[in-house]
Symmetry: C2
Subunit: 193 residues, 2 copies
Amino acid sequence: MHENLLSYINQYVSLPLTDEEEALIVANFQFKKLRKKQYFLQDGDVCKYAGFIVKGAMRQYRVDDKGVEHIVHLFVENYWANDRESATMLTPSKYNIDAWEDTELLIITRADMMDLMEKIPTLVEMMRLTDERNAIANQQRLNFTLNNSAEKRYEEFAGNHPEFIQRFPQHLIASYLGITRETLSRIRKQATK
Amino acid sequence: MHENLLSYINQYVSLPLTDEEEALIVANFQFKKLRKKQYFLQDGDVCKYAGFIVKGAMRQYRVDDKGVEHIVHLFVENYWANDRESATMLTPSKYNIDAWEDTELLIITRADMMDLMEKIPTLVEMMRLTDERNAIANQQRLNFTLNNSAEKRYEEFAGNHPEFIQRFPQHLIASYLGITRETLSRIRKQATK
DNA sequence: AAAAACCGTTGACATTTGTCAACGGTTTTT
DNA sequence: AAAAACCGTTGACAAATGTCAACGGTTTTT
């Protein structure tokens, strides 16, 4: 089940991984299964692992003072689940990450990842690219959110991420978009007319 | 006037720059003055330069279909002005960046920066750190925006960035926060009571 | 098999925020 | 010095979104 990870990496870089490099990667990532609802990271803990999702679906969320969950990210296959802030600053995380479906992950500690990056320049390149892509996507999401109605945000999201719409229940999508489930329900009703 | 840049860099890294490295940096950044309202980057152009602000204030914004400006970022001294998306993808920028006050910059092309990074490992470290800090800040801004009222957003922003409040007019702050100038005016009135 | 939790929907209503138009006091441009 | 542009404010009103409560149909747990 490491093939997904290897082809994910190769997809990002100009020079494919050598056999030795692939072996090194396989040796350093650990396989982990999570049952539905099981935590990968809990609010208050320091994020120790980054997890590459081989199979399944997860969510990252924050719980506010009133106990309301706010979805920060949704993940499916080929996504990385982790809290960068906590992992790099070594501070307690403000987020929870848990499995929405039964999920299979390949996990690695930050220290091991650093080691690997010293040995495999390709990984450095991959990180630079994914970081960059990520930064741009975040920027766009922020902009879109600031300047568009709930309806437009939903349309845009549903258009660009149909797989998430099928995979996660509406109230999670609503929360991810920063609106209530009632509002989303009404928007969808409106749209079908 | 390169001192600001050099101390900015040194502030981020464990090992201070050597004299040779500093000389190399000074040689590769170009000094540039912008008068108030002058463009640093125009919608439709590819972003060629990254600019480190030595003195002054700038803004980055998008103009929507209706001709309304949406502020994306505000910059003052010790900030980097550029459009990462355009610069890395080499695509036409969707944003404008212009000088809000008379501004002095140290600018560098992406290619020259890459060169410098090969010669000065410290710069790579700096980039990693600033990118990381940036990604975390973006994440937090997005979260805060999605889950808080206009009033809370303004309070938070004014609390954490008093220098921006003094430096930029209210309607720019409002736009940055994703609200209208009228709403911000009313929020402030309310708050003084 | 029964009970509980989950999920989407709807109605009634409250709150937040936007829109449009107008004003007076700056500051900038001519 | 006059004209124009800019800026913040306010009122009246409209539109978007949230809140609360209730429901019925699933799915999950017991």
